[in-house]
Amino acid sequence: MLTQERWALSVSELNEYVRRTLAGDPLLRSVEVRGEISGYRHHVSGHRYFSLKDESARVQCVMFRQQAQGLDFRPADGMRVTVRASASVFVRDGTYQLYVESMRAEGAGDLYLRFEQLKKKLADEGLFDPARKREIPLFPRTIGIATSRTGAAVHDIVQIARRRNPNVNIVLAPCAVQGSAAAGEIVRAIERLNRQGEADVLLVGRGGGSLEDLFAFNEESVARAIAASRIPVISCVGHEIDFTIADFVADLRAPTPSAAAELAVPVVGDLRAALAGMALRLRNSLARGQALRRARLERLLAGPVFALPGRMLIEPRRSRLEGASARLAQAVRARLEAERTRLGMAAKTLSAVDPQKVIERGYAVVKRDGRYVTRAEALHVNDDITVVMSGGEVFAWVTGARKAQGDVNGTEEADV
């Protein structure tokens, strides 16, 4: 008799049963499937994980490293491909997936092709030209943001902007950043920000996502709106490795919304410090200028312009001066010598006429009443006279006199 109880399988048994069922189906053992790649991940192990999808369904795929070695192209999101795979179940997880053995590209993926074509078209128009990129202002008073009102992007931008400059004004023009309506909304957001005109720089972008998620920023309308923006634009779409057409047209590309905020808003403290340094420099500048002026003047005086004539003027003058003073000294010496000689001669002359010397030679000098008498006729008989002779004085009186005969040169001895 059958009871109500059904025989229960364990999970392992169930999964194994499904696997065996699928494996038993020859079609599923080797099936060709056509679809669009999505969420493609190239794992460090070398295995590739992705989804294949069409308009209404998707299936998980794995291509192991060994099979992937046979790839002759680089798979990417959006590419239309055909794979040969076996449909099976990964027993441990209970996941149904395609184990891909080989893959071929079906022409190019729709999205990917559109991307490449638009990129070429706009590049040819010169929209990516480095020359047309505008400079981002060093210090914006107001920043404008075109992104989703919710989500990490706007949150990150606001946080970082505020941290770097607490006073910065922020204007957000919210817009969808994925889905079919996104491109139009992004365009209108950029236009609104330009019309309002207060922002000094615009940040346009969104957080990370798949290629389809980011694809609004590859639309032609968005690219042209960025190019037409009067206000400089920093693009910040997705992650570091994502490059959208908006990134090529923008005046500056940031790898993430956070990085965009850092590029847009300087740390106001740094600017204050720079200004303070400048104030100090200005305060000293007048004094420095004065010092330089003085130094320049001194250098001028000491320099060749003055030294050369100096060499011509001062040097000869100096030597002339030196010559003159030498001559002066010489003259003084000579004069001194001459005077000494004259003095010497005068002294000799003087000594020649020194009465004492005369007396010592044997002559006598006569005095009467303390006065010298030099002429005979001045004396009278009986005058008391003193005769000064070498060795002393002799007292005598005059007994007679006789006038001298002849001239001055010849003297006769006179009898006294």
Partner: protein, 73 residues
Amino acid sequence: MAQKKLTFEEGMEQLEALARALESGEMPLEESLTAYDKAVKLHKKLQEMLDQGDARIRVLTEAGEQEAREDEF
């Protein structure tokens, strides 16, 4: 006569040029005093620029401008 608004960057460049000119000592004294005055005024203006801003977040929707909620971001 509408003048393009002076940016902070331009202001700093002008200050730099003034400082260099004053330091060189090549201006006649009267001119350097005038230049110094100009530099002081410019410096003050730049300082005011750094303090500007009301830290508001405004949301510019299709319908019009509105204030953001305090805690919204």
